[in-house]
Subunit: 118 residues, 2 copies
């Protein structure tokens, strides 16, 4: 019975845009990821998606605006809403979403990643 | 469209053991609470409960051990498992759990709180 140290988990990988599962809550994942640059426009038709910035800063571009997130800030992208995460410099984020969520949503493509458990 | 700043939300209240909803993800709440001292032994029969320490440190006592959590650490109490959160000094925590979860679980009693949206 031991707590999960988020910083320690981040120290265990370097790849970007590859979410890692660090815990589960019922059928939801707690995922972490390192991101830098631009991701693809996509949406998740069946679920909201929570972003929490652990370190650094990022933006979530939406078709009708954008949301800036700094360390310690949360934003929930509503289900069905197209979004594009971007980060000028490497940013560490924590995500809460159902375990079956694919990172690229309905867009698919080469950035689609398998979520490993860390 | 604006991010939720967790520190800012914590600055808006002083009461302890009174979870506040700062966001929702589908039918799950993102709650924050200030805790100090000992809570009651309780369990949630139908759901896991995620604890993340935002500031300070706490312990989660279990019938067969205990888990220490420092800042930036996560622990998920499995459904049905009796637990008792304690904190020597005031600690700020973030919780992820279904919106219908009552803080005292099946134990009930005077520490049962209504979850306000902040």
């Amino acid at each position: 019975m031991q707590a999960v140290n988020i910083a320690n988990k981040f120290s265990q990988f370097t790849e970007q845009w590859q979410p890692k599962r660090i815990a589960t809550v019922n059928d939801y994942d707690v995922r972490i990821a390192k991101i830098e640059g631009e991701f693809v426009w996509h949406s998740h038709e069946d679920t909201d998606e929570m972003f929490l910035v652990v370190k650094g800063s990022m933006k979530i571009l939406l078709r009708d605006g954008e949301v800036s997130l700094n360390e310690g800030e949360v934003y929930v992208v509503p289900r069905g809403v197209e979004h594009k995460p971007v980060a000028d410099r490497e940013c560490q984020i924590l995500l809460i979403e159902p375990t079956d969520v694919v990172n690229t949503g309905t867009a698919g493509g080469e950035r689609t990643a398998t979520v490993e458990t860390l």
